[in-house]
Amino acid sequence: MTVATLEVNGIAKSFNGHTVLHDIDLSLQPGTTTAVVGASGCGKTTLLRLIAGFESPDAGTISIDGRQVASPQRAVAPHRRGVGYVAQDGALFPHLTVGQNIAYGLRGTARDEVRARVAELLETVALDPSYAARRPHELSGGQQQRVALARALARHPVLMLLDEPFSALDTGLRASTRKAVAGLLATAGVTTLLVTHDQEEALSIADQVAVMRDGRFTQVGTPQQVYRQPTDRFTAEFLGDCISLPCTVASGIAECALGRVPVQAADGPATLVLRPEQLVATVVSDSEHLDGVGTVIATEFLGHDVLLTIDPAGEAAPLIVRQHSFNPPPIDAKVRIEVVGAGIVLT
């Protein structure tokens, strides 16, 4: 078994009497990307800063590559941890050029080597080498972010820490930059920990997702695990839309207004949680039996998806169903909703 690149054990941190992190455990395998996702103020940036060394923990330990770097008694200074840190707004040095920024950590290296490395890094982050002579304020937000990335990568760190790296970008740019960065980090084989409040971002690029709430992890697992099998309500709702229906469970089948859905739960009354993409709405002609049939009362066109608000028969609340936007059911159409896949029962 390989040594985990990052091992966080029982970390706790308070500021001014207010506890920000309670008993955090996290383990990062070499070469993987982990995303810590949570709402603003939940403590995820604090965790990052503890790992980088800008704060020391009140309890617990942090080890990088098997070497303990932080504990309440002693902490290794940030400049000795070999960790790359990319702040939320890039934090490029305004008084240096882009090239000088990237070369900042390369003290003591020969001039031509530095130049070659800078060019190489600029290429890695998909920026033209001519950018090396420019000043940070001449670059756009996305470009600044990429330079910050290159700067952190210059020293071949064992661990990369990214603080909300894509939040400053506009939506269109965000997706492509995200893909590119994930790709280059994977190619470089660098273990990465990134924090974000964007669940889509976390799910798309991470090998491991840790959902944080009020200073605690509610669940840690692969993207599929945390999305499809959330262990609690908060995690489920945070990572995506949920549809909750009251149901009765009997022998692994939940009986609800939409029909019978397989679940893994104990018998008895419970709440069934489904994802919008598990519901498929098909148009029916009025004459067919009206069991499990609802009326479309609103549609929202999202480009390649459409969100249908469907009023199910009975007093149940309207449901939102997401499906492809090709030939969507019009308003007032009668549709039958089918459930695909297993449901989740949460207490």
Binding site: F15, N16, H18, V20, A39, T45, T46, A52, G53, F54, E55, A77, P78, H79, R80, R81, V83, G84, Y85, A87, D89, G90, A91, L92, F93, P94, Y104, G105, R107, P136, H137, L139, S140, G141, Q144, R151, A152, A154, R155, F166, S167, A168, L169, D170, T171, L173, R174, H197, D198, Q199, E200, E201, E237, F238, G240, D241, C242, I243, S244, I320
Partner: protein, 532 residues
């Protein structure tokens, strides 16, 4: 069921201005070197304060009471307080107005106006008041004091405000405009609040100087509390009574500090984001250009024209004979020497104090910073006598040596350096220093490679202010400088007190002229801040 926010719907901003720190205060503990330096500086400031306290104690309660509680003292105190209360807001209006005109509009000749408005600081106070009484002989009383003070001290406000205006992120103002504010609305609701720290810092500096001011009002028949202090020295020739009265000034200074701290509130520094903002588009003045130019010209005439005209008149009367080059060159050399050394030392020592003030929180940090201002509110003679007493009894070899006088200058002018270095340090967001440390630079290397470079323009401004202050300083130099020292200021005073104004004029003129390259350096450096 509502989807959680997908992410901030940001526009494509290059840097988003950060709001005041929302996460809990990250108080950094200063290292041993910084703490030692700060301890030395604080111990130094305690010498004059200790002297004042000793004087108060040795005088005794009853005598002190009788000295302080007199109708005349009440009148003088009222004058001092009224002077501060009226002059500081006036300086705010003038300083901010000039700064705005020169930095934010498309007024022609801005590059010329900019360095000019710092020169009033270099005009000796005596020349100012003499010149004004020459122009308006009946000028006297509170309004005379206000006029002379405002015209002499508004550069203290103008400088930090202009520097801050350059650094502001125009994106905020553009957002405000998009929300429907007109120019006036943008200025008062968006720009002015961001200038708060600069205005408060400048106001504090002006207030503290006004408390200690003595020579400026000599000719305009306006007596402030310092007159009462000086009188005690004149009459009793025993430092105790005068120094005890100076304790009242200390109390006034504390009041000023409290007022500034309250007005500053919790925002201890203004962040402008670690990205570099674009330069703002100059506002078109259109028809108002004439008004703007006239206003600036009028201010220049009043603040500089009147005293310089007096100097030129004296020089004209004196002819070529008054230019005794040997003496002038010697005086110039000594002035430059002393002023340079003092400026560098003061600025270097201001760093640890400013560091503690900006990066730490809590009462100790405030106390450390405040102690420096209090010493500055004492008249020069009190500080000088304090140093005489302490040095001659505790460290006789140091008495009347270069070391002592430079030390005195550091004590007297630390606030000028402090205000600027503080503003510069506040400009360096901690995230830049953290980035540097994460890239392998030790704290010391980070300081040298990042912090020091980024605060260089502000530091230069502070050093220049101290330079001008030392060049024009008189009382402490008279008492503490090595025998045989002869600065421009001392020569001017000696000749003018003999009524030989024509012979004195060259020295004053050289002083003012000396200040010009210094202010140009000041501005060249301050301009570099905009490039950040």
């Amino acid at each position: 069921m509502v989807a959680p926010p997908v992410g901030r719907a940001d526009d494509q901003t290059q840097s988003h201005p950060t709001a005041p720190v929302s996460r809990p205060d990250r108080a950094a503990r200063p290292g041993p070197l910084v703490s030692a330096a700060v301890a030395i500086v604080v111990a130094a400031t305690l010498i004059p304060l200790g002297y004042v306290a000793w004087a108060a104690v040795s005088i005794g309660w009853t005598k002190a009471y009788h000295l302080v509680v007199r109708p005349r003292v009440g009148e003088l105190l009222f004058n001092t307080v009224a002077l501060v209360v009226i002059t500081v807001p006036l300086c705010v209006v003038i300083g901010v107005g000039v700064a705005w005109l020169v930095e934010r509009t498309d007024l022609a000749g801005r590059a010329f106006w900019r360095p000019l408005f710092v020169a009033p600081l270099a005009v000796p106070a005596f020349v100012n008041s003499y010149a004004w009484v020459g122009v308006i002989p009946s000028l006297h009383g509170l309004w005379a004091g206000v006029v002379v003070s405002t015209l002499s001290y508004f550069p203290f406000m103008y400088l930090p405000v202009a520097a801050t205006l350059r650094r502001l992120d125009p994106a905020i103002e553009e957002s405000a405009r998009a929300l429907g504010s007109n120019s006036a609305g943008v200025f008062f609701r968006v720009v002015l609040p961001q200038l708060r720290l600069a205005i408060l810092g400048g106001g504090l500096l002006i207030g503290v100087h006004l408390l200690a001011e003595y020579g400026a009002f000599a000719m305009v028949r306006f007596d402030t509390f310092t007159v009462a202090i000086f009188q005690q020295f004149q009459v009793t020739f025993d430092g105790a009574a005068g120094s005890m009265l100076a304790g009242v000034l200390v109390l006034l200074c504390l009041a000023l500090l409290v007022a500034e701290a309250l007005a500053r509130g919790r925002a201890r520094f203004s962040r402008v984001g670690s990205g570099a903002p674009r330069a703002a588009t100059p506002i078109r003045l259109g028809r108002n250009v004439i008004t703007g130019q006239v206003a600036l010209a009028a201010l220049a005439v009043l603040a500089l024209g009147v005293p310089v005209w007096t100097l030129l008149r004296w020089l004209w009367i004196g002819g070529a004979d008054v230019w005794v080059f040997d003496d002038i060159v010697t005086a110039l050399g000594q002035t430059i020497g002393l002023a340079t050394v003092a400026a560098v030392l003061t600025t270097v020592l201001a760093f640890p104090v400013a560091w503690v003030a900006v990066r730490s929180s809590g009462l100790l940090a405030r106390a450390v910073e405040g102690a420096n201002y209090v010493t500055s509110s004492l008249p020069g003679i009190v500080t000088a006598l304090a140093l005489v007493t302490v040095t001659i009894h505790l460290a006789p070899p140091l008495y009347q040596s270069i070391t002592l006088i430079v030390f005195a200058y550091v004590l007297l002018f630390m606030p000028r350096a402090l205000v600027n270095v503080r503003a510069g340090l506040a400009q360096v967001p901690p995230s830049l220093e953290e980035a540097s440390r994460s890239l392998g630079s030790s704290p010391a290397a980070t300081f040298l490679r990042v912090t020091l470079r980024l605060t260089a323009p502000a530091t230069a401004a502070g050093a220049s202010l101290v330079f001008v202050a030392v060049a024009t300083e008189l009382t402490a130099t008279l008492l503490l400088a090595p025998t045989g020292t002869s600065t421009l200021s001392m020569r001017f005073w000696s000749l003018s007190s003999e009524l030989d104004y024509a012979a004195a004029a060259p020295y004053a003129l050289v002083l003012v002229v000396l200040a010009v390259p210094v202010t140009l350096v000041l501005f060249r450096q301050s301009t570099k801040v905009a490039a950040l």
